[in-house]
């Protein structure tokens, strides 16, 4: 590759990057507008959530005015966007807290949970999928298929309850509901909001173990669905590769079967797989309301749903924006991975 062509390429990439960012901005704006409209159309009255069902009309009107709901919708939207441009997500209508601060409080709990869940899902799902593909049609494949089917179809809520009953109430291996034993609550200074990291940074290993005991079960159960999905996709990706001639070429070269599978076939599905995992991770970061409910996990999903039910549209908009950004970034990252890992796109 000469310097000229590569610089030409990067110039092209730069314009395509600008192009892409434009699409991202439009997507996010569309998402926000839609959410805003839905929020205003939905029969959920934040004022009633604040003043209660039995407040008299003057109180109601006063709060209605204080929230700015008496302004025309486009004015409200304009102010919202203006504040957003200044990086201000506004204040939650109900608590008066800054939405950004609220999200900063609940999101680390979800990141922590989702990250461990996806690690579990990937570390178990990928080998299972590869195993199923290389044992296609044999009993191993069937076993993996049954496991995947369970992961897909059994409600996560049921898994959660069963997990609690078996591993918490019965075996006492898991730590029950919440992120940490209450005795340890508040012992560690919050730096990242992620208890595992905070406690490790502080060197508080008792706290760390308590957090590990609490997070493992919900994360694994949350990861089951991803695991099933990843295993299934890995299997089909691998099957597609294994039927190709380069695999035979590799075998004819004298490579061992393990090398053929991992060095040749698996290398080729890596990028596809990363995309799948990234999107699954995005789904987990949206929060998992059911798991959060069962395990009393103070995460993003619960925050979003309870805000929605109380009609707190400022909070909902902030959440939607974050979800949008997560998905857009994951897509960009997945694209970038293609660029990096696939020589054909260079």
């Amino acid at each position: 590759m000469s310097i000229f062509t590569s610089s030409g390429l990067s110039a092209r990439r730069l314009t395509s990057l600008g192009h892409r960012l434009g699409i991202v901005a439009i997507t996010l704006l569309g998402l926000l507008t839609l959410t805003f409209l839905i929020g205003r159309v939905m029969p959920l009255d934040p004022v009633l959530s604040i003043v209660g069902a039995d407040a008299d009309q003057s109180t109601y009107d006063q709060v209605y005015h204080q929230l700015g709901l008496d302004r025309p919708m486009y004015v409200q939207y304009f102010y919202y966007l203006r504040d957003l441009m200044h990086g201000d997500l506004g204040r939650a209508l109900l608590s008066g807290n800054s939405v950004a601060a609220d999200i900063a409080r609940v999101f680390p709990a979800t990141i922590e949970l989702a990250t461990i869940a996806i690690l579990f899902g990937t570390c178990v799902g990928v080998p299972l999928g590869v195993f199923a593909a290389t044992h296609r049609g044999r009993w191993g494949d069937q076993v993996v298929r049954v496991i995947s089917l369970c992961g897909y179809s059994v409600p996560v809520f049921w898994f959660g309850m069963m997990g609690l009953i078996i591993f918490y109430a019965w075996l006492n291996w898991a730590g029950g509901a919440g992120r940490i034993d209450l005795a340890y609550d508040g012992l560690v200074e919050s730096r990242t909001g992620m208890l595992l990291i905070d406690s490790a940074l502080a060197g508080e290993w008792d706290v760390f173990w308590s957090a590990v005991k609490h997070i493992t079960l919900p994360a694994c159960i949350l990861g089951l669905h991803s695991m099933a999905y990843i295993a299934r996709m890995t299997r089909s990706f691998m099957l597609a590769q294994l039927s190709q001639e380069y695999i035979i070429t590799a075998r004819v070269k004298g490579l061992s079967e393990r090398e053929v599978i991992w060095r040749h076939a698996f290398l080729n599905i890596l990028v596809q797989l990363l995309t799948i995992v990234a999107l699954a991770y995005g789904g987990l970061l949206e929060g998992a309301v059911l798991i959060e409910t069962v395990f009393a996990w103070p995460g993003f999903g619960s925050y979003l749903v309870s805000s929605l039910l109380l009609g707190d549209m400022n909070a909902v908009m902030g959440c939607v924006l974050l979800i949008g950004i997560i998905f857009v970034s994951l897509n960009l990252i997945a694209d970038a991975l293609y660029q990096v890992f696939d020589p054909r796109t260079r």
Partner: protein, 533 residues
Amino acid sequence: MKKLPFLLAACALSVSLIGTIQAKTPADQLIVGMSMNNLLSLDPAGATGNDVLEINANLYDSLVELDPNDTHTVLPGLAESWTITPDNKSITFKIRKGVKFHSGNVLTAEDAAWSLQRVLKLNLALASGWKSYGFTAQNVDKQIRAVDPQTLVIDLPEPADPKLIIYTLGTSVSSVILDSKKVMQHQKDGDMGRAWLTTNEAGSGPFALNDWRQKDVLLMSRFDGYWRGAPKLRRVVLRHMTESQTLRLMLERGDIDVANGMSVPDVEAMKKNQNVRVESVKRGTVYYVAVSVKDPKFADKRVRLAIRNLIDYDGINKTVMPNYGVLHQRPIQSGLPATLPNPGYKLDVPAARKLLAEAGFPNGFKTTIRVLSDPPFINIATNLQATLALGGIDASVIPGTGNQVYGAMRDRQFEIIVGRGGGGAEPHPHSSLRALVYNPDNSNEAKLTNFQGWRTSFISPEINSLIEKAVLEQDAKKQIAMYQDIQKLYDEQVGAIQPISQMVDTVVLQKDLRNFKSHPASTTRWRDVFKQR
């Protein structure tokens, strides 16, 4: 292979060993599992819902308290004593000396006056009750005032039963006394500390707030300088848990001491558990079926009577309501001297059909039932839907959040609602009637949205004037008779709100908890609670 039986045995053994270990919460901490979904603000002037009542009853003190064993008995709190003038127009409170706030500031009558004035000046959720006594943001400085640091005077702006106001002082979350100096340090844009008090406290109660992470955990710790003497518990932890089965497991494992808001099957299961105690307490509110009289169908008394005959009171109270409520059919809460025995309304389909035919609906009609999607509301509604169908009425159920259901009711946009209400924290007939029946102005423009009577558009001038007179009657016997007349009239005129059940609140506690007394007005106080181990 030889090892297998041994391994299995070892596993079984370890499992059985582990199974018997019951974790214990720390002896000096109270761990409460509850839903904090409706806990939005701790500000006494703006906090709605029952959860905050219990929390603020422990962070703050009020002038008086109602005895949890007999709510008619008013006990002294920050007020050592009080006197009511013979004309029933003024109450004077003697404020206790030597009470200190968590900040160290000394509590005075000025703090008390300021706290109560603040409620009206901010005009938030909790102002409604005070406004119904005639207090306004304008007159409150005059009507509620500190004469000296130890004396607080409340002059009634309108004639009323002063007992009622004293009950409100003992039950309303807006009646707690704030540290005015501390709050004013945190004032922003003239909000009288509203923003700050949403997530902070400035009280004198037995516990001080350490940390509140919304929908996660609320931590409070013992206030050693508490005027009644430091509480026995060092720390109280409220943890947000919405899933009933999780609460149950945590309770069984001994990881929480108190569980609020468990589902009926779980409560029933816990009744068999030797280690826990199930405590139920009646509240002042009632579950009801309300119709909108604005709707021409329900404007006809015969149709309302038909509906009354199409509710399966026994069935609902036996199958749906255990641990949620007990049969009650009067608009005044049960257990008061004035409350008449239940009139014995029953499901009577032939009578209902006859009434509907007379009213011109021999084949019934179509209608809707708006209802909260949570138990027991939704269960009541489906039961009602089935019995209405027996009378030929085809009702579709529209479930929603509390916000949606009561929002529609406040807008008078409904046909039938299954709901809960009735004020009723104050153990006084007026409290129930004001909330459920009283409707001084039925016009749409009046927007008396805080009166459920107005929301249903049901108006009865006789009942209205009786309610107004009864609350002023000084002779207790005569007053009771008047309240009984109101109930009879309500029965005859077939009011738009038909109570079916008196609300019951159920908590499940660890057996070793002592002095935990659930309060009918939700102001359960933990200052004397300890664990007997």
